[in-house]
Symmetry: C2
Subunit: 135 residues, 2 copies
């Protein structure tokens, strides 16, 4: 099990801002929310984000250039290494995070066949969530 590392002051602020949001935030959105706490520059946000993303407490959504707090429990270590799928509702902004072992397996199979060594996998679905479809 990976040890849950203590967070620095700025990391705590940034993670708090993301956890308190009801959807993804850009680094500049986060900055705006943390100005009252004394943060002033984008770099402070990006610096705090880097280790949070590294540890899996925060995920970067490539198709939005923004960030979300991980939906899983991180007090006892980070979640599995099955690539994570993000379903992003373009109407309400909600992000649903899940992982799918079949998809992971299939992609591993392709990689093995062609000799590709996979690092990070980005898998994002843009669309409309059930709630917004009903409305």
């Amino acid at each position: 099990m990976t040890e849950a590392k203590a967070l620095t002051k700025n990391q705590t602020l940034v993670l708090g801002a993301l956890s308190g949001a009801n959807g993804p935030l850009s680094a500049y959105d986060i900055l705006d929310r943390l100005r009252p706490e004394g943060l002033r520059s984008p770099l402070q946000i990006y610096r705090a984000l880097a280790p949070l993303v590294e540890q899996g407490r925060v995920h970067r959504l490539e198709s939005l250039n923004s960030f979300v707090a991980c939906a899983h429990d991180h007090t006892h270590g980070h979640h599995s290494h099955s690539p994570v799928v993000f379903a992003i509702c373009e109407t309400c902004g909600q992000v649903t995070e899940f992982s799918d072992e079949k998809v992971a397996q299939q992609l591993r199979g392709w990689a093995k066949d062609v000799g590709f060594k996979t690092g990070k996998t980005t898998l994002e679905l843009r669309g409309t969530c059930r709630t917004c479809l009903a409305a």
Copy 2:
């Protein structure tokens, strides 16, 4: 079959630049390559890219903020709507494009189960290609 639409002058230039490149190019990379042809502003590039992406002749790589020419034949219409997977070598920049019906099926299944209507799917693998692993 979708009719292959004629390209405008700028679209032709941009698609040519992407086809001639051996990897993904950012809009500004494309602009630099097309300055000799008289293009001067980023907007000219973005405007040409939009319909090319729309038609599937060019793909946008979200994890790189850049663009590649589609690897498939577009003279007789565009390729299947199975979501496309991009494997991006971080060493040599090569992008391999493929589609995987099992993955597509699995994601459709998830979407059906939770009532999510999927629009665009982004699926990108970052890693190292066979050739670069061997080197």
